[in-house]
Amino acid sequence: MNLQQAQSNDTGGYNFAYLDEQTKRMIRRGLLKAVAIPGYQVPFGGREMPLPYGWGTGGMQVTATVIGPDDTLKVIDQGADDTTNAISIRRFFARTAGVKTTEVTTEATVIQTRHRIPETPLRSGQILVYQVPIPEPLRFIEPREVETRTMHALQEYGVMHVKLYEDIARHGHIATTYAYPVKVNGHYVMDPSPIPKFDNPKMDQCPALQLFGAGREKRIYAIPPYTRVRSLDFEDYPFEIQRWDESCEFCGAADSFLDEVITDDQGGRIFVCSDTDYCRQRQQQQQPAVNEETCP
């Protein structure tokens, strides 16, 4: 799409997908570099967006840059399409880019997400855009940017293993449950954004392109399709994901990430799929059968 076409779009005085074409070009350069160096944090001239920092401005800038008029967009927050911030961002692109939106994972060409990777496996050609609050995996060990940049350059990641080891010494387990650090393509240690570690294995050899945008911190990074992504661990304490004794109250799934929902003040609670689309698809498949019993 050229500039004229973009501007003629009926988007209320703003360019297609809000950002001007110069800014998109600058971000695309950053994205290309990010794809070329998997897991490396590329600084970019992040712009103010009409949503607050920390609410997905990095992801939105990436989405605005990669999306075209023929794309179909899905936006999830905590795995759900109907959480308020997901709705707000989906509306933003429906309004400023006029693109088709969907809640169905398989229909989407671009998926912007906060804190989850969809349960339905992604396919080649899809782009998963993560919203990232703190892109630097070493930040809580070393707050200084000057230091962490050097540590990445020298692959000086011993401190990260020490941190995980200290968890084991203190708790008997690695006590990191989300934003669990990964090593990408055998080089950079990367923050996968605050997804639960349950989702980490989905990043490995994923056929879809994974892009990460941190707006406030002005960093972009990427995992190209079919890239090795290893969660950090030890030989005697291998990486493990969360497991539940329960299964989803609605669809009976025993293999998906479950949110706990408190139903009363007497300690009553149920577990439901965090991925609303996955849950709905499963319920629809079960519909033809008699739905007297949803639990397998």
């Binding site: 001007d20 920092y53 920390g54 109907d82 000057v146 006590a175 960093r219 109250e249 706990e260 965090s274």
Partner: protein, 382 residues
Amino acid sequence: MYVAVKGGEKAIDAAHQWLAESRRGIPETGELSVAQIRSQLRLAVDRVMTEGSLYDPELAALALKQASGDVVEAVFLVRAYRNTLPRFLYSCPLDTGTMAIRRRISATYKDVPGGQVLGPTYDYTHRLLDFTLMANGETPRGPEPAEQPLEPCPRVLEMLNREGMIEGPDGETGAAAADREPGDITRDPLSYPASRDIRLQALARGDEGFLLAMGYSTQRGYGRNHPFAGEIRYGEVAVEILPEELGFPVVIGDIEITECDMINQFGGNETEAPRFTRGYGLGFGQSERKVMAMALVDRALRARELGEEQDTPAQDEEFVLSHCDNLDASGFVSHLKLPHYVDFQSELVLLRQLRQEYYQKADKASEKHDNAGSVSRQESEA
């Protein structure tokens, strides 16, 4: 029953409607016009322009109206708007020496060429609530304008500079910095260590409250740098641009600014005569508190360049510059309001497991102790 946060779309629409109604307030009271805000809440407008880094009093007033007077929210509106504006060119550096002065004071000399001009200031008001403002709409008149125009007001620090008593305006790195194009953090991300031009830009956009606290901390011994308010001036200056095809500068308008030159403790060594150092602050409109705080922090951040120890928060460049922007800060703090079900659930799962293991261990230990006929140690562990 399971009642999750569903129906978000309707809720958002309703929230927006309710917000609009709340913003308008009681319908029987008159609606504030943007012009009223612009002229009667001018200091709020100035702050929104400074931190929003867009000189447009009308839009700043509109932002304040739309934000129900929440300054940080208004700054946000202005920044988001500013971001969509095309850039034609950069202006020439402002010549604040030719400012049409409204206020100009120096705390270092009793009298200076051009004189001390108090101007419109709250400084010497008694902070007693003025109930007449509530009772009637009396229009106070200002003093009669002086018959003689002001004499030229050269900048105080320039006079010191001529004597060699103080470093040049650009500090030690003057010559090198003058040749380089100044950076722009709205185009390129901040990287560390940052040069002074970049630092000043970040501080100029920085939150007044944050800078005030940082500047204050230097006065209380956390990176003390012995400041004197060499000069504070507020007034109008002309903004000039230099179109390439013309080859000479053209004035495109006047803006109101406040400038602060701080004079600070001197250095010096075997090769260099001792002389005063500087801290600098600049803001749109009348923004004295902001520019004074900015000048203190600017000076504190020059610690590395001036070979001073850097062991306090105000001297820590990454700490100050990474946290001074109120858009960054309020955005990230407020994002805690967004759902974190998934991360919280992950922590719940782990914590339950840890607690279960803890009690299993405790049970085992107590069995052992029971067998041995002793419970005292188990109690003390609990």
